[in-house]
């Protein structure tokens, strides 16, 4: 059965939801401060390659991370620092990957947002948009074959990724297999520089769910409480066996595609619209207004988090860079099947 759920702002919050708001907000704050650090390191020339921030998307991303259990599967995208932290990634893993430490999860072989720990259900993204959706399907498919249940898989995409063949194939596949997949779309108005008017022609990306026979949910991506409720509900629906769920959040990317991009193409009109609000500020104001958080606590948090990040950066900067001479240059797990006669072969 097809159902479109449009969640209203939650009213009458309980103590529990205050706690979850506060926990999610803390992940947002950590992500923002971590992103700020990466941006500073980038400007200082300390990072090889690009830096990709999640400014403006922390509420949605944190809501995804806190809705998941350790046993779930998560394939984040480039603007998901908050969700990654909430799913259990350490600041040190993130920093080590950006700084190319040989001790990080990617060991200098891949960098920046291309990080994960697949055996822990945390999948490292490709740059090819939409390519992770079917991989999440595969993990869920295999778990079902093994008789495991009650788990969900979540992957995040932007509006641009909905134009890819991979997106279409994988969402259709998940629907056919009725997998517990939650596909979270951040409709942030631009795919790099391309506005949504050049990306898709449907009224709302949530409408795409109808064509795939999956349930959809729309949410204001700048509103943490709404994101928690909506993403939580979608995850619960998937976990309860109602098949794939599409969550579409409207928001605005508050940074360039990467730090190399000044994003001068962003139409100023968006900044004055509700979707152009900074979700971190919106959450902060709500938490203050509802007396869930006070300014003194926030100051302590900020300094704790900045200390945590600075410690991680200092640690990673002291660590050895990968060494081309001890690198095994081996792309196969099977040592006996390596090419032995290529000029640059492993051995």
């Amino acid at each position: 059965m097809l159902q479109t759920v449009v969640d209203a702002n939650p009213a009458g919050e309980t103590a529990t939801s205050h706690d979850s708001m506060l926990a999610a907000y803390r992940f947002m704050l950590r992500a923002r401060l971590l992103d700020d650090k990466f941006a500073a390191l980038y400007r200082a020339g300390k990072i090889h390659g690009g830096v990709f921030l999640g400014r403006g998307q922390e509420a949605l991303s944190a809501a995804v991370g806190v809705s998941l259990k350790k046993t779930d599967v998560f394939a984040p995208l480039i603007r998901d620092a908050a969700g990654r932290l909430a799913f259990g990634e350490t600041v040190l893993d993130a920093v080590r990957t950006y700084l190319g430490s040989s001790l990080g999860p990617m060991r200098g072989r891949d960098g920046n947002v291309h990080r994960g720990r697949p055996t822990e259900g945390y999948l490292p993204m490709l740059s090819h948009l939409g390519a992770m959706v079917s991989v999440v399907n595969g993990v869920l498919f295999a778990r079902r074959m093994k008789g495991l249940s009650g788990m969900v898989g979540v992957t995040c995409l932007g509006d641009g990724a909905t134009s890819t063949g991979s997106f279409h194939e994988a969402l259709n596949q998940a629907a056919v297999e009725k997998l517990p997949l939650v596909l979270v779309l951040a409709d942030n108005q631009y795919a790099y520089s391309t506005p949504t008017s050049r990306q898709f022609a449907c009224h709302d990306l949530a409408d795409k769910a109808i064509g795939y026979g999956v349930e959809s949910h729309s949410v204001d991506g700048t509103d943490l409480a709404a994101c928690l409720k909506t993403v939580g509900a979608a995850v619960a629906r998937a976990r309860a066996g109602h098949g794939p769920q599409l969550v579409v959040a409207k928001l605005l990317r508050l940074c360039g595609h990467g730090e190399h991009d000044d994003s001068n193409y962003i139409d100023p009109k968006f900044k004055n619209l509700p979707l152009g609000r900074d979700c971190l500020k919106v959450a902060e104001e709500l938490l203050f207004r509802e007396k869930i958080l006070d300014a003194a606590t926030l100051t302590v948090w900020r300094s704790q988090i900045i200390h945590e990040i600075d410690e991680a950066v200092a640690t990673a900067q002291r660590e050895p860079a990968p060494d081309p001479f001890t690198e095994d240059w081996r792309a196969l797990a099977s040592e006996n099947l390596l090419e032995t006669h290529l000029e640059n072969a492993a051995r």
Partner: protein, 321 residues
Amino acid sequence: MSITYLEAIREAQATALREDPRVFIYGQDVGAFGGAFKATKNLAKEFPGRVLDSPISEDAMVGLSVGAAIEGMRPIIEMQFADFSTVGFNQIVNQAGTLFWRTNVPCPITVRLPFGGTSGGGPFHSQSLELIYAHYPGLVVLTPATVEDAYSMLLAAVAIDDPVIFCEHKFLYYHLKAEKLPTEALPIGKARIHREGRDLTIVTYSAMVHEADLAATELSAEGWEIEVVDLRSVKPLDTDTVIASVARTGRLLCVGEAWPWGGVTAEVIARVAGEGFGLLDVPPERLNAKDTPVPYHPDLWAAHRPTARAIAAAARKILRR
């Protein structure tokens, strides 16, 4: 009793499903229908829930297999025709091919590619794509030429901890027969001397092994003894066996059904020239398909790909130098 190349592929999959609970098969029409070529005939019935039809989504088929492999399964993906694997190309080369390198997590998937020309196949049901997959790091590319290898190499492929592109030649499906399935096999990565000779080495693989063998028979009537090396595996490529053969014959012809630009034949010649230049009495040659899409009409097709006659002609040219 005799068994065809195609039946050997079915039997290998049945054996893998029977012996390893981690194995499943996913692909278009592989379920109750038994596959476009019947390579999974009755397997859905024999192994309920483990041989499953996929939507027509090569990208998502391969992506799903990678996720399942991360989760410890041993998926076999059937591409209905190798030609369609290009739709899943990104997932094969960028997802499966990079997983181990990036994360240290193995990616044991087997992607079966029914490939190569058959009469009437035309441009989109005839392609030989082993080279494009061999070009990418992180993939193993197998090209069995015999019924015995079709069986034992497919079983081995499923056991390999890396993504395997299993190129099974459609032309051999029904033509090639053996008395029984093998109980032992050469290891993966080892080439096989298909036919011994002293005057010229023909290095080839898959269906071209049989065309080369026919050419060698034709040339034997003229007094030439041709050695035919069956690579079996395109990647890794058993350079030692090739160079040892060239050391015996001093002459090299490489034959492939794929297109001529680059390719396995070019790779073999580059290696022999680099490591065994002094072993060559005359310049090495190669013979490939023509640099056009594969034609539909049998007369055009026969002229497009190397045949026994074309191989014999190329060999004579080298032998008379």
